[in-house]
């Protein structure tokens, strides 16, 4: 791989590195404090989770879901009210909320997939509908959540008694184990390919990539170990990202999303049910929005009528910054994770510096625009954009 293709392939990773170092310098190292790094993940948990779902929608042809912020509010409101006013076990509450999210998703997926209502309009309607319902359920009040079990499921830290008394060694141990597994897995995959006589990619670049990823994992878990350890929320986020990365890159089901976005007519003529693809994209999106609602409710400890406001924009922005094509058909989960973290670093960096909230919007907008311009211009060369 020459320098040019390397830069093209890893543009956003390089951009993330540059921005991170920039803010580390500008904040005189405060960005690197364990507490700030831990918060970076927690504050962006909902973005990461929803960006995974949004990716599927965007893959189908640059379609977005505007209603997710409102779904966060509605699901959060129902969880808060159920916990406050009924004696239901928190696990039941969570299941009810997730089921309800799926129902919301089926509602949207049906109109978009089967009745062919333009997604933009259908989800705009959803945005008003669910926000209104959420506020009605809250009775225009802020409802706080006191249930310890519920909070623990989403917002506590992993703490092994005896081991994690001073420094939370469990976090670092997890980091070491994951790093080792990644290396082992690379060896195993290469051995398998060699056995079957398939083509191998260059060993040097493959191991270099793993080395960088391992170094980052070790660095991050080291920092977590010196704060409160691994947040439970991180487990939820990692699980969602892994599942969606697996679906999009490894399964036939995931491949269909790319196919529909690449050429819907050809996909249909290949015997793939495109209506179902749209349906599933929006159903999964709402499920993840519901999960985000629970994560937010637990992290803040309360839900009000403005919970989840403009979250859809963060999720959409992360996808486009992370390299999802505005025309659909391309984009990866690792890409949007980078996009979401990039947005998160910019947000947090500016907050630490003490920059006015208004300017954060300006910077976010500029970054999004640049990323999409980049996508459109590079697509023009391959001939996809008119």
């Amino acid at each position: 791989m020459n320098t040019k293709t390397f830069i093209k392939k890893y543009t956003m990773v390089i951009a993330l590195g540059v921005v991170f170092i920039l803010f580390a310098v500008l904040t005189q190292g405060r960005l690197l404090y364990p507490q700030n790094l831990s918060n970076l993940l927690l504050q962006n948990a909902y973005v990461l989770v929803m960006a995974c779902g949004m990716l599927l929608c965007i893959l189908t042809g640059g379609n977005i879901d505007l209603s997710v912020g409102s779904t966060v509010c509605l699901v959060g409101a129902i969880a808060a009210q159920l916990l406050a006013n009924t004696g239901l076990h928190p696990v039941f509450v969570i299941l009810i909320c997730l089921l309800l999210s799926i129902v919301i998703g089926i509602w949207q997926g049906f109109w978009i997939g089967n009745v062919h209502i333009p997604p933009f309009i259908c989800t705009l309607a959803g945005m008003f509908l669910f926000r209104g319902l959420g506020r009605a359920i809250l009775g225009s009040k802020t409802v706080s959540i006191a249930n310890k079990t519920f909070l623990n499921i989403f917002a506590s830290y992993i703490n092994v008694p005896g081991l994690d008394d001073q420094v939370k060694w469990s976090a670092f141990i997890v980091g070491i184990v994951i790093s080792a597994l990644l290396i082992a897995n690379t060896f195993r995959a290469r051995a398998q390919k060699a056995k079957k006589g398939y083509k191998q990619s260059a060993a040097a670049s493959e191991f270099a990539k793993i080395a960088v990823i391992d170094a980052l994992i070790l660095f991050y878990t080291w920092k977590l170990a010196h704060y409160k350890g691994i947040p439970v929320m991180a487990l939820w986020v990692v699980a969602v990202c892994l599942i969606y990365a697996f679906i999009t890159s490894k399964t036939a089901f995931g491949r269909y999303f790319y196919a529909v976005g690449g050429n819907e007519k050809a996909t249909k003529l290949s015997g793939i049910n495109t209506e179902k693809v749209y349906f599933m994209a929006y159903t999964s999106m709402s499920l993840l929005a519901g999960l985000s609602g629970l994560l937010m409710a637990a992290r803040i400890g309360s839900v009000n009528g403005d919970t989840g406001n403009s979250f859809e924009m963060d999720a959409i922005g992360s996808c486009f910054i992370g390299g999802a094509s505005a025309y659909g058909g391309s984009g990866t989960v690792p890409g949007i994770i980078v996009g979401a973290i990039l947005l998160g670093v910019i947000n947090q960096g500016m907050s630490i510096i003490g920059l006015d909230n208004n300017w954060q919007y300006v910077v976010k907008g500029a970054v999004l625009l640049v990323a999409v311009i980049f996508d459109v211009v590079s697509n023009k060369k391959t001939g996809k954009a008119g």
Partner: protein, 511 residues
């Protein structure tokens, strides 16, 4: 010396890999109606696009002399300013706008503030009267029929002070009455001194209106025939249109047609998806044996693609009726998935629009129609997928550095091979190939023919839809001829000639 309004000299136009026009010459006298005839893809429309500036100056070689001056049109607007107006087969009208708005689109009548609507509608109606349209100019385009829409296009041309009017297949979508009216209108304008160039397949129409007829074949002018006495020799034109040498452009093969019928279709009718009262395919029956290549000949719009797609899991049309048997079993295929499972494959004529995902890799395109073959429990084995893609790359000799290459980066011929690979991977028993060699070079064509021969040698049935008659004659065992949705002839390829096929089509037109 004749008074020439237009002379095109030695026009050569190349597309990547294909020479569409090769040293074409065309002379048009002032005040005449000049017809251009030729097979699909002969280069008629390309020539007119060169003339109108759609293909700008510099993208072709040769000279356009118009009114005694060498012209270098860079855009459509340049040529329109000089009075050259082209009306395409696909009308360029916006259905939701009124006749008047359409007529002055891009050429608005401006008042002191914005558009002067009174003047727009007044002038529009003046031009409409000239073409015999009695509608209000505020009527929406979608509310008038195709015939009248065609007249609106002509009125629009008049509003641009047209001196030379070019009509590309103007009557292809009109019924006989409307077509006659349009042709008479052209004769009327001729008396007023307007020059027209008309592209058409319909020889009876041409002999009715044209003063001169230029025959184009394979991107070259063959001859210009004088039709002043309105008594042309149709055979001579047909000969000129199709008369190519049949050399060894087709691979030899053993004919081993089996007695078993692979697929049979009986009394098949299909209606237009948007205008359900219109029959696109009308009571068609045909069959294809195992080990047989059956050709479908006909002009564009004969309903062959529509027939094929409606069989292929109802992917075209509404209100489809008829019987379908595959391998002796009666089948109802409601979805494309059903059709693929039943052993059917349809290789589209529009490989970029309907066939391939240009932004995806060769490997991903190939496995798309039967992804479960490289999956276990829904998880794709990418290594297996790549191995399969490599196998087809070798088998079909697709020229590409890697199967990870995006299909969009390949040449037309190699894209076609990927498309064929995709459908061969689906393991069909019956393959319908729709214009499998369109827009690809001679070498790639030969390779595609070889692949077809391999397929029938394996006992599969192949249906080949093609507008190139020599190719059908060279490759098929049997040829069906379709025209306007109906099956008009069936002949063994050994007895078929291009003249016979053309004659069958023309004959059915007259009925």
């Amino acid at each position: 010396m004749a008074d020439l309004i237009l002379e095109m000299k030695n026009i050569t136009k190349e597309f990547p890999g294909v020479k569409a026009l090769d040293q074409v010459n065309l002379k048009v006298e002032r005040g005449e109606i000049h017809a251009l005839v030729g097979e699909n893809g002969a280069g008629k429309s390309t020539l007119m696009n060169v003339l109108s500036g759609t293909y700008p100056f510099g993208s072709y070689t040769g000279d356009i002399v118009y009114n005694g001056e060498v012209c270098q049109f860079k855009t459509l607007r340049d040529s329109e300013e000089r009075g050259i107006v082209i009306i395409h087969q696909e009308l360029a009208l916006i259905p939701e706008l009124s006749i008047g708005e359409n007529m002055f689109l891009g050429n608005e009548r401006k008042g002191r503030f914005g558009i002067d609507w009174d003047r727009t509608y007044h002038e529009a109606e003046e031009h409409m009267r000239q073409v015999g349209l009695k509608e209000e100019s505020t009527t929406l385009i979608k509310d008038i029929g195709t015939g009248k829409q065609q007249l609106v296009e002509i009125a629009k041309a008049l509003s641009k002070q047209v001196k030379l009017l070019i009509l590309d297949e103007p009557t292809s979508s009109l019924n006989e009455e409307d077509a006659k009216m349009l042709l008479d209108l052209l004769l009327h304008f001729k008396q007023e001194g307007m020059t027209s160039i008309i592209i058409s397949h319909k020889l009876n129409e041409i002999s009715y209106v044209a003063d001169k007829i230029t025959v184009i074949r394979d991107g070259s002018t063959i001859e210009t025939i004088d039709n002043a006495d309105r008594n042309i020799n149709e055979d001579r034109i047909i000969q000129g249109m199709v008369g190519r040498e049949l050399s060894d452009r087709y691979p030899k093969r053993e004919h081993h047609v089996s007695d078993t019928v692979g697929m049979a279709v009986k009394n098949w009718s299909v209606h237009h998806p948007l205008y359900p009262e219109k029959k696109v395919v009308d009571n068609v029956s045909f069959n294809v044996h195992r080990g047989e290549i059956v050709g479908f000949s006909g002009l564009q719009g004969a309903g062959r693609t529509e027939l094929a797609m409606s069989i292929f899991g109802r992917s075209y049309g509404t209100d489809i009726s008829g019987e379908l048997t595959i391998d002796g079993k009666s089948r109802t295929l409601k979805t494309v998935r059903d059709a693929i499972e039943a052993g059917l494959a349809y290789v589209t004529e529009d490989r970029k629009g309907n066939g391939l995902i240009l932004t995806e890799s060769i490997a991903k395109n190939i496995t798309m129609s039967k992804l479960d073959k490289v999956c276990s429990k829904g998880v794709i084995d990418t290594d297996k997928e790549n191995a399969v893609a490599e196998e087809y790359k070798e088998k079909l000799r697709t020229k590409t550095p890697s199967v990870q290459q995006n299909v969009g980066n390949l040449s037309g011929g190699n894209q076609q091979k990927v498309l064929l690979s995709k459908w061969m991977f689906a393991d069909p028993e019956v393959l319908i190939l729709d214009e499998p060699t369109r827009g690809i070079d001679v070498g790639a064509k030969y390779e595609i023919y070889c692949i077809m021969n391999d397929l029938v040698a394996q006992g599969k049935s192949v249906i080949m839809i093609s507008s190139e008659m020599p190719e059908l004659l060279g490759m098929c065992d049997r040829i069906y001829v379709m025209n306007e949705g109906r099956m008009v002839a069936e002949m063994p390829a050994a007895e078929a000639t291009q003249e016979k096929i053309m004659a069958a089509i023309l004959q059915s037109d007259k009925q």
